[in-house]
Symmetry: C2
Subunit: 347 residues, 2 copies
């Protein structure tokens, strides 16, 4: 608290007066850019837009592509909401926000391709202001159904490049954070091969909240963050620029993977496995995901919050992959944290 | 607390010395009886049993029927577990149990029929002991996909008969409780037509916990319970006999509905609607269900906990039933609390 009180006396600790307009404008432009890129990639599917308003304040625009050539379903949402109180799950992390109104804006996306060889992918970036505090959060992560190490390497290397332009410790820290966040404790599995994820980034410089309520994995990310220590001297402009580079890294990280995999022929066996694994996506989003919980707790628009859920899903009691199969390789290697950025073809 | 201290001085407040053996024996016999009845009804599908042990203490037997004639999937589980501490979600309700070991045994069941005209159904009965406190809980509820008022009437009337043999206020109170518990707040819908549900039933005689954390509906059940007041003078034997009658009411409540509806022809339209509505079952179980949360919080066997999830599910952004259709009738009438037991053919 003392450190924070000192920080707010410097001008760098405050957002600029037009912070909300600038961030929400960029969040909308990210939604536009992603939708244009995906329509071009798909070649057939088009996004349909629904505008919505929230009784307590704010609203958004939800865009959904159904039954495209590549994407069985894809949702890209923008929202800008405000209200009296942040929900308890956030106030635990930022008690300074208690008793203040809040403002939040963000863009989020989940794509469910039809071909099981093309991975599902998720992006979310968000910005909060509440009384004396503000922060950026978000990330990008990839969920393959079939194991291609070169795809994982490309995805992580692209995100690392975006991070490295801003701080040498960002990628390592936010990669660990992502592995920890997208972890299904009840399954003992990561959701996929991860990516980067961060939250509560402000000028206080704390990269990782040491006591992260609901932390689901081991404490690797927390230990790493302690070793790194606080990254001081970051301004609001630094963080906004970093988040923009992260958002802009999405298309180059994902599009080449789709182009490589979408023409691979598949059969009922691969489709069934994809539908089964999509069940894990549902389990994660409904049991653990803080964005989903935030939306439901703040009377968000249910259809927009749950447009991340897959169009068709299967559960099967007691499923086990056949030893030596590609499905087993997914479980053995791709559903555990790996140093993907340093993977090499003959490693 | 004072009332409770007085009560425990009477012998009726204590369970008999062989309470655990008697209840767990009955829970197993209920599982047997239900599985036999369902195999006979299905005519083709057979339950396969998995025995499992829990590292912290106890175990169970999970039985699953896959790809039967009537049942696309059905799971009937028995478990008997013990450990050091109850999870926080229960200790909030029974703080007297803090610092004591616990014992819990129960039977639970979810059936997913193939024909969309046959409703999904759920049963769960459970018994807890922890230090100075013990209680029974559970219920039965029906989730139709297509609206048949006579099915809803039969289902509720059968449960009411079981309740009325024990207390004239049970059915009304536990029906309201069920409507409140199986409510999807983010959808503004009940899960189905309800049934009965209760928890924390002991000699204290409190029918309904007035401050029910996470209560999802209005306070109708709480208000009714306050009006009824505490039901005093119930012994452990009374409550055990009541729970047995509730469990035994399942087959007569459900089997005639299956027999009436399973031969109705259906097409892709009805199947698609069923798969879509099954998504609500997933949303309820993963977001709200206390049994699921208890299982995941106490390191239960994930495959057994999640065998309630449907074998195939669909989500569709922005779905709305066509006005005047049977699907619209489900939404308008069957996904809201109704006085089903007093429904008459020409009402």
């Amino acid at each position: 608290m003392t450190a924070f009180s000192t920080e707010v006396s410097t001008s760098q600790a405050f957002p600029p007066s037009d912070s909300r307009e600038r961030v929400s404008h960029w969040m909308k432009s990210l939604q536009n850019k992603i939708c244009q890129g995906l329509e071009q990639l798909d070649g057939e599917g088009k996004f349909q837009q629904d505008n919505w308003e929230r009784a307590e304040g704010g609203g958004g625009r939800s865009r959904v592509m159904k039954e495209g050539r590549i994407f069985e379903q894809g949702g890209v949402g923008f929202s800008e909401v405000w209200g009296k109180d942040l929900p308890p799950s956030i106030l635990v992390q930022r008690p300074e926000a208690a008793g203040h109104g809040f403002y939040a804006t963000g863009t989020s996306m989940v794509l469910h391709p039809r071909n099981p060889y093309v991975p599902t992918v998720h992006l979310n970036y968000r910005y909060f202001e509440a009384g004396p505090v503000w922060w950026f959060g978000g990330g990008i992560d990839l969920t393959p159904y079939y194991p291609f190490a070169e795809d994982a390497q490309h995805f992580h290397a692209t995100l690392k490049n975006a991070c490295d332009a801003h701080h040498s410790e960002y990628y390592n820290t936010f990669k660990l954070w992502c592995d920890e966040y997208f972890y299904l404790k009840h399954r003992g599995e990561t959701r996929g091969i991860g990516g980067i994820f961060f939250d509560y980034q402000d000028t206080q410089g704390v990269l990782y909240p040491i006591s992260y309520p609901g932390s689901q994995m081991d404490t690797a990310a927390a230990q790493h963050s302690q070793a790194v220590g606080s990254v001081k001297g970051r301004t609001w402009e630094d963080l906004f620029a970093f988040v923009q580079d992260c958002g802009n890294a999405f298309l180059p990280a994902y599009v080449p993977i789709v182009e490589r995999r979408n023409d691979i022929a598949y059969g009922e066996h691969q489709r069934n496995f994809q539908l089964y694994r999509r069940g894990r996506y549902v389990e994660f989003n409904l049991v653990y995901d803080r964005g989903t919980i935030f939306g439901l707790q703040t009377n968000g628009r249910t259809e927009s919050i749950l447009m991340s859920l897959p169009p068709m899903v299967r559960w099967e009691y007691g499923y086990q992959p056949e030893p030596g199969s590609p499905e087993a390789s997914l479980y053995d290697t791709f559903l555990k944290p790996q140093d993907w950025v340093n993977w090499r073809p003959n490693s």
